[in-house]
Symmetry: C2
Subunit: 362 residues, 2 copies
Amino acid sequence: MNQKNYCVIMAGGIGSRFWPMSRTAFPKQFHDILGVGRTLLQMTYDRFLPICPKENILVVTNERYKELVLEQLPDIKPEQVLCEPFMRNTAPCVAYSSFWIGDREPDANIIVAPSDHLILNNAEFQRIIEISITQAQESSNLVTLGIKPTRPDTGYGYIQWKEDKKSENELVKKVKTFTEKPSLELAKDFLDSGDFYWNSGIFIWTLNSILNSFQNNLPDMYKAFSEGQGLYGTENEKEFIERIYPACENISIDYGIMEKAKNVNVVLSDFGWSDLGTWGSLHTHLAHDGHQNGVVGKNVLLYNCADNVVNIPNDKLAVLHGLNGYIVVESDNILLICKKEDEQKIKQFVNDIKLKKGENWI
Amino acid sequence: MNQKNYCVIMAGGIGSRFWPMSRTAFPKQFHDILGVGRTLLQMTYDRFLPICPKENILVVTNERYKELVLEQLPDIKPEQVLCEPFMRNTAPCVAYSSFWIGDREPDANIIVAPSDHLILNNAEFQRIIEISITQAQESSNLVTLGIKPTRPDTGYGYIQWKEDKKSENELVKKVKTFTEKPSLELAKDFLDSGDFYWNSGIFIWTLNSILNSFQNNLPDMYKAFSEGQGLYGTENEKEFIERIYPACENISIDYGIMEKAKNVNVVLSDFGWSDLGTWGSLHTHLAHDGHQNGVVGKNVLLYNCADNVVNIPNDKLAVLHGLNGYIVVESDNILLICKKEDEQKIKQFVNDIKLKKGENWI
């Protein structure tokens, strides 16, 4: 294991499409959403343990979730939890963690990953990460993982790749274009063509490469965070971050850097990935009975039910009869029953509830 | 108000068809099942306040519910709650309360009623009770209230009536036959004929008449309870009851007395009655939105839903989307979702749960 490998887990999101389980006070990444005994954050952490020393794993999150992170990951130290004073997009999060690492290890290799994704084949993931680190070191390029698409999903970003003549590894390609959330027609064309992969949001680069990219593409952000050099990891870090964050641009790393940079590789990956973006996407990954019901909950009895995704606390009994194609979720005093085919409406419900019943329920 | 009027409220049942709200530890009659702010027991008590002095209202229930009764009816004294050591059918319950009343008031008029029925027109109910008391006193007959049927329900008992030449009141009839739970075809014939009424399970008689009927039709039970004369209402009552109850026949007052006695009147009634036997029957009586949804619960949001009966605790938020014709009930850590047309299956579910998950859930 390379002692210069660092992992940055981004854990500041809310995951409102997973309401009512994912709530502002207790977002998706902190839930054992698959009913396997580990939360999504814990599974992400576990996945990085063979890749870097545990003291090199950073979690970037909102100040309000710091205690939750430390509870769920008792092996990391408080200073490994980097706290954003309020929600910003991914670029400030990457800048913050990069400079933090820079104060410790100028030769670091960095893996940046969301905290709330599912990866089924961890051994293959590890192999892909190693290929990516090698590529990042040898080429000084930015590396992103592309996921072999299995359906024309219109909710994802797509990466078109082309051959990278400089690389001998056939999984390593050059990025030709990024396309966010295409139309269904376009997504079908992408799938047919074979040279479009899903954008996973998992990145690998060296510290030098990413700092150079900030300097070139987001110079104000680079300047702001560079003024903190020497303060990261000290008692003055918090005051500094709270001072500069309000002026930070609210921009994603994809839009702010990846889509502009010329030196981007994509590594073609296929390790059983899901962003677990919606209840429906979860359905695919839950154990199924003989009737395509995906159930989490120790006391759920189904009679004459098919094709449902059910998530009920273990201490609760649920008896379901005659339901086909529904999401049935109970979480922290909220019950949601929603037709699976209409799950995109959950966002509307949440807005409606905010207006009618107040912030406490969301 | 006649000071010799006594009311006996039978409150020992379990109401398993109303599971999961009605549970062994907290049966239906103790719930505010309509969401009106009073439980069914309290509504029954209220209904009798204009008919007899409140110290003449007795509640017969199982020992385990005594505290619950006293909590819900703070105006009655502990001795007015007659406790059965274990569940028996209605005949022992009537015998017990009759002898209890006999030790206080040998000239009593007694009204016996279930604790878990709904009556919408209380003024009309009071008028019918007065007619019935008059008839019971003048004729020494047993009087039962017949309910004008509105549908060929196969779950009820039916009373066929004929004219009573001795009575001048046109609502007072003689009972010709009792028929329990007829076939649908028969029930339709009953409805068409016009001379069949539903058996409400509400009875009116004088103390002397009912004691005579016990002596003639259930002589062993009569003898057992008569040996306690002088003990009812004293500190020795409990020990006596616990001694004789095990030997009591487990029989209903309908089968043990009413169907055998020759001196039975039925008073034709129409006061908006329901036995609230099932969730479906409750649906009719709940306030409806524009889409035939009957909802109890302060935080229930329906989207694209019709013809459902929903009962959710007030402190809980429920969001329902795309449901048609379902029962959705949450009560004390149990969630039930069941197609309304299949609600008779709830009993099977309860049996299944008893086997698979244990007694605690039922």
